[in-house]
Amino acid sequence: MATVNPILDNTYDDAGERSPLILGGLDYAGVTDEVCGIWEADKPPKIWFVVLGAAISLLMVLGGCVGHLLMDGVGVWGNNNPAYWGWPIVNFVFWVGIGHAGTLISAILFLFRQNWRTSINRAAEAMTIFAVVCAGLFPGVHIGRVWVFYWLFPIPTEHLAMWPNFRSPLLWDVFAVSTYATVSILFWYMGMVPDIATFRDRCTTKIGKFVYGLLSLGWTGSARAWHRYEIAYTILAALATPLVLSVHTIVSFDFAVSQVPGWHTTIFPPYFVAGAIFSGFAMVVTLLVPVRKLYGLENLITIRHLENMNKIIMATGMMVGTAYGIEFFIAWYSGVPYESYAFYNRAFGNYWWAYWIMVSCNVMIPQVFWIKWCRTTPWFMVIICVFVNIGMWFERFVITITSLCRDFVPSSWAYFHPTWVDILMLIGSFGLFFTLFTLFCRFLPVIAMAEVKGVMPRPKDH
C-alpha cells in the first residue's frame, strides 16, 4: 500500500525528485477501482445522457445528409467549377489530422519512454480511431457510387477490367488511411485486452461476462504472455511511428503533387504532420478535461498531463506558424508570379477573413500557453483548444478553397459557396465522433490501467 502522497500540484519540477504521475496516493487496486468505477456505476451521470442524446441527434442529421447525398449524387455539395474540392476534403483532412494525436501519444511517446502518456493514451487512441472513421466518411461518400467502393483497391475483377493507378497520390491516400485505420485499431485493441480482462474478472452480469470474456481472449496476465505482448507492443509502436508520419505526408501529397499554385510546395509534408499533431492534441485536451472532471479522474489525468499536452500544442502551433511564414517567403523568393499571387491572395484576397481566422487561432492564441496559469487551468485550456481546432479547420479551408478559386484560368475564378448539406455534414460528423466517444467512455476502459500500474512506483519503494 502506497503512502498517501500529499502533493496535489505536480506541475512543479524538482531536480531532486521525479514528479509523481499519479496523485491521491492511489495503489494498484485504487487505480483499478477508479477506472472501473466509471463502468461499474449503475447509471452514468446525467450529463452523459445529455451528450449522447445530442450526439445521436447530430448523427441522425449526418445519416440523413449521407442518404440524401447517395440518392441525389454529389451535386448536393457546393463543389463546383473551379472548387471541385470543397468542404468534403477540408473535413477529411481536418478529421484525419485530429486522428494523429492518438497514435503519436501511444507510439512515439512510448518509444521515447514518456511515462506520462499512460494516463491519456487509451482515450487518445480511441479518439484517433473515431476521428479516422469521421475522416473516412467524406472520401467514402464522395466517390459517387459508394456501392462499388472496392474499385479503390486492386481487386482482380473482370467487370472493371482495370487496375488502380498506383502513381496517383489519391490512391496512396487510400492505402495510407486504410492502413492507418487498421493499425490504429489493432494497436488500440491490443493495448486494451489486459484491461478488458480486468473488466471480465470484475463483471457481475451474464452478458457482460460473455462479451468481455470473448473480447479479452482469455488473457490471464501470464508472464510469458506479457513478455511477448510487450515486444509486440514495441514493434507495433515502431511501425506506427513512421506510419503516423507517412499518413499525413501522403494526405499532403494530394495537394503537393498537383501543380496548383499554393499547393505545389515541398514544405507540405512536414507542415501537415505538425498541423495534425497540433490539432490532435488540441482535441485530446478538449475531450479529456471534461472526462476527467465528469468521472473524477483528476488523480490519474493530472494537471501535469494536461500541461505537457499544452506545451506540445504550443510547440507544434509555432511549427505551423513557421510553415505559414516559410510559404510566404518561398512564394516571394521563388519569383514565380503565380505562386506569389496565390499567397498574396490568401492573406489579402477575397478569403482574407478565413486566412486571418486561421492565423489568429493557430499562431497567436496558443501563445498564451507561455503563461503557466493558462496551461494549468482546465476550463481555460479547453477554450484555447477549441480555438485551435477552429483554426485548423480553417487552415485546410484556406489551402483548399483559396488555391482552387484562383487557379490558372482567370475566367473560371469564382467564390465558393457551401450548401446546407456541406454544413450539416460537418456538424453531423461531430455527432458521429461524439457518439462513438461517449459510448467508449461508458463501455470500455478509458484509462490504460495495466500501463498506469506499470509506471507506478512499486509499493516497497516507499
Binding site: Y28, L171, W219, G221, A223, A232, L236, L239
Partner: protein
C-alpha cells in the same frame, strides 16, 4: 474448492493442474520466481496485472522469436507491394509486359508522360503494404505464440485469481513439472512468502464440446459458403436475360430519346400533334450560322436560276454510296448543267493562299481515293480495285480528275464540282458535313489548278515498283514531285 480432493492429483471429476500461490506485491513475486527456478522448477508461470520488470530472467523466459517473424513478413511485403504495382500498372521487364497476361492483365495507361513503373512513385504504397503486413504479423503472431484466444482456462475458476488482473500477483507451479510434489511444493511456496495457495484443477466432467455442435458448425459453414459460390457462379457465366440489377447506374432514365414517339400522353393523345419527341424549328427560323440563302456560295447554283425542266435539285442527288455502278448508270440523275455557276462566288478570292489551302484539304480528304495528283490512283482506290478484281468486293473506281468528263468546264462547271464535293456523286460520299464551305471552294480551286497543269501519272506505284519514275521521285530535290509540279501560278 475441492477441499476433499486435496491429497489426490486426479479423481473422477477433476485433474490437478498445478498450485497457484498469491503474492501481494511485484517484488515478492519476482523473488519467489527466482527461488522456484533455483529449486529446479521449470514448468512455472507468473501472473500479474501489468508486466513486472525482472520477471523474465527470474522465470527463465527465453526471448520470443516474434521480431524475426515480423521481419520475415516485412521483407516479403516489400516484394508483394512492389510486385503488385508493377504487375497491375502494366510494368515490363524487357520483352515481358504484364498487360498481355491472359489472367487479369495489367492495365497500361500513360499519364502525364510518366513511366509505367518508377520506384519513387511506388514507394508510398509499398511502405503502407509493409507496415500493414508487419502489423498483422505482430498482432496475430503475438496471440498465436501466446496460444490465445483460449476462452476456457481452469485458472479462471479460482476466485482469488480474479485479482490477477487487478492488484495481486500469482505464481503457478504446474503438476506436470518433474519436481512437483503436492505437499513439498506447497511447503516451499509458503516458505517463499505466498499469501495464500490455491489448487488449479481442470474440470473433467464437461470439457468436451457437445457432439451435435461440430456437425452444426460444419453445416453452418457450408451454408455460409453457398451465397458467395452462387454469386461467383453467376459472375462467371454468360446469360441472355438481364441479371438482378441492384444498382441501376442510370441505365434507365426518365427521358425521351431522339427519333422516338413522344411518350408524354395527355388525355390519351400524344403531347404533340406530330407524335414526335423532337421538335422542328419554327418555320422561317434560322439557326445561328446556318443561313445559307446565298445559293452561289453554298450550293454552287446561280442565284438567278429558276428550275425549268428537271425538278431534281442538287440536294436530291445525294448518293448513299450503296448503289452499284449499274444502278447508277441505269438511272442517271437528270440535271441542268446550266444552273451551276462557272466562276467562283464573289465571296471567294482566288489567290495562291486559297489554292494552297485547297491542296492541304485535297490531300486530306480527296487524295485517299483520287490520288495526290488526282489521277484516280489513291491508295484506297488501288486496294479496292485489287479486291474487286478477286470478286470479294464491288467497287466503282474513283475517277481521274483529269478525265475529260471532269475537266471539261462546260460539262462540269465550277459550281458542279462544288456540288459534287458537297453532296457526292455516283458512289462518292458527300463531304459537305465535314469540310467547311470556304474549304470546299478552296478544293475546287486546287482541282482546277491540277487540271490546268494536266498531270499524268508519274508511275503506277502499286504495279511497277522498279519503274524509273519512282527512282526519279526518290532522287531528291532536283526531281520535281507531282505536288511541286502542280503548284499553280495564278
Amino acid at each position: 474448492m475441492a477441499e476433499e480432493n486435496k491429497n489426490s492429483n486426479t479423481d473422477e471429476n477433476s485433474k490437478l493442474i498445478g498450485l497457484v500461490a498469491q503474492f501481494d506485491d511485484p517484488d515478492s513475486l519476482v523473488q519467489a520466481c527466482d527461488q522456484a527456478r533455483q529449486a529446479g522448477y521449470t514448468k512455472t508461470d507468473a501472473f500479474s496485472p501489468f508486466p513486472v520488470h525482472g520477471i523474465d530472467p527470474a522465470l527463465g523466459i527465453k526471448r520470443t522469436i516474434l521480431p524475426f517473424i515480423v521481419l520475415g513478413i516485412a521483407v516479403g511485403a516489400v516484394f508483394i507491394g512492389l510486385g503488385m504495382q508493377w504487375y497491375t500498372n502494366g510494368g515490363s521487364l524487357g520483352e515481358f509486359s504484364t498487360d498481355e497476361s491472359p489472367v487479369f492483365p495489367g492495365y497500361r495507361f500513360k499519364i502525364s508522360g510518366k513511366p509505367y513503373f518508377s520506384l519513387p512513385a511506388n514507394i508510398p504504397v509499398t511502405f503502407e503494404v509493409i507496415v500493414l503486413s508487419s502489423a498483422f504479423a505482430t498482432f496475430f503472431g503475438m496471440w498465436f505464440l501466446n496460444k490465445l484466444p483460449m476462452l476456457s482456462n481452469p485458472l479462471h475458476r479460482i476466485s482469488r485469481f480474479k485479482r490477477a488482473t487487478n492488484d495481486k500477483f500469482f505464481l503457478m507451479i504446474e503438476q506436470a513439472d518433474e519436481q512437483f510434489d503436492r505437499g513439498s511444493t506447497e511447503a516451499q511456496l509458503n516458505e517463499w512468502g505466498a499469501v495464500s495457495i490455491d489448487e488449479c484443477r481442470r474440470d473433467l466432467t464437461d470439457n468436451n464440446l457437445p457432439s451435435w455442435l461440430r456437425l452444426f458448425a460444419l453445416m453452418g459453414a457450408i451454408l455460409l459458403l453457398l451465397p458467395p459460390v452462387a454469386i461467383f457462379r453467376a459472375m462467371g457465366m454468360t446469360s441472355r436475360a438481364p441479371r438482378l440489377h441492384v444498382v441501376p447506374d442510370m441505365d434507365w432514365q426518365d427521358k425521351s430519346k431522339t427519333q422516338t414517339l413522344s411518350p408524354i400522353m395527355m388525355n390519351d393523345r400524344y403531347l404533340f400533334a406530330d407524335e414526335r419527341v423532337m421538335r422542328a424549328p419554327v418555320d422561317g427560323s434560322v439557326a445561328r450560322g446556318q443561313l445559307d440563302a446565298d445559293t452561289e456560295l453554298y450550293q454552287g447554283i446561280k442565284s438567278d436560276y429558276v428550275p425549268t425542266v428537271s425538278l431534281t435539285t442538287p440536294q436530291g442527288s445525294v448518293r448513299t454510296g450503296l448503289g452499284t455502278q449499274d444502278e447508277a448508270e441505269a438511272a442517271p440523275p437528270v440535271e441542268d448543267v446550266s444552273m451551276y455557276i462557272t466562276e467562283f462566288p464573289k465571296e471567294i478570292t482566288v489567290d495562291e493562299a486559297l489554292v494552297k489551302r485547297g491542296q492541304v484539304r485535297f490531300n486530306i480528304y480527296c487524295a485517299a481515293c483520287h490520288g495526290y495528283a488526282a489521277n484516280g490512283d489513291g491508295l484506297v482506290n488501288q486496294r479496292a480495285v485489287a479486291l474487286a478484281a478477286t470478286g470479294k468486293a464491288q467497287w466503282t473506281s474513283a475517277k481521274s480528275l483529269h478525265d475529260a468528263t471532269v475537266s471539261n468546264a462546260e460539262k462540269n462547271p465550277l459550281g458542279r464540282i462544288f456540288e459534287t464535293i458537297s453532296n457526292g456523286r455516283g458512289t462518292m460520299g458527300p463531304y459537305g458535313a465535314q469540310i467547311p464551305t470556304a474549304d470546299r471552294w478552296a478544293i475546287v480551286a486546287y482541282v482546277k489548278a491540277l487540271q490546268e497543269t494536266g498531270i499524268k501519272p508519274v508511275v503506277a506505284v502499286s504495279d511497277d515498283e522498279s519503274g524509273e519514275g519512282s527512282e526519279a521521285n526518290d532522287t531528291g530535290e532536283s526531281a520535281s514531285t507531282p505536288e511541286d509540279k502542280t503548284q499553280p501560278t495564278p
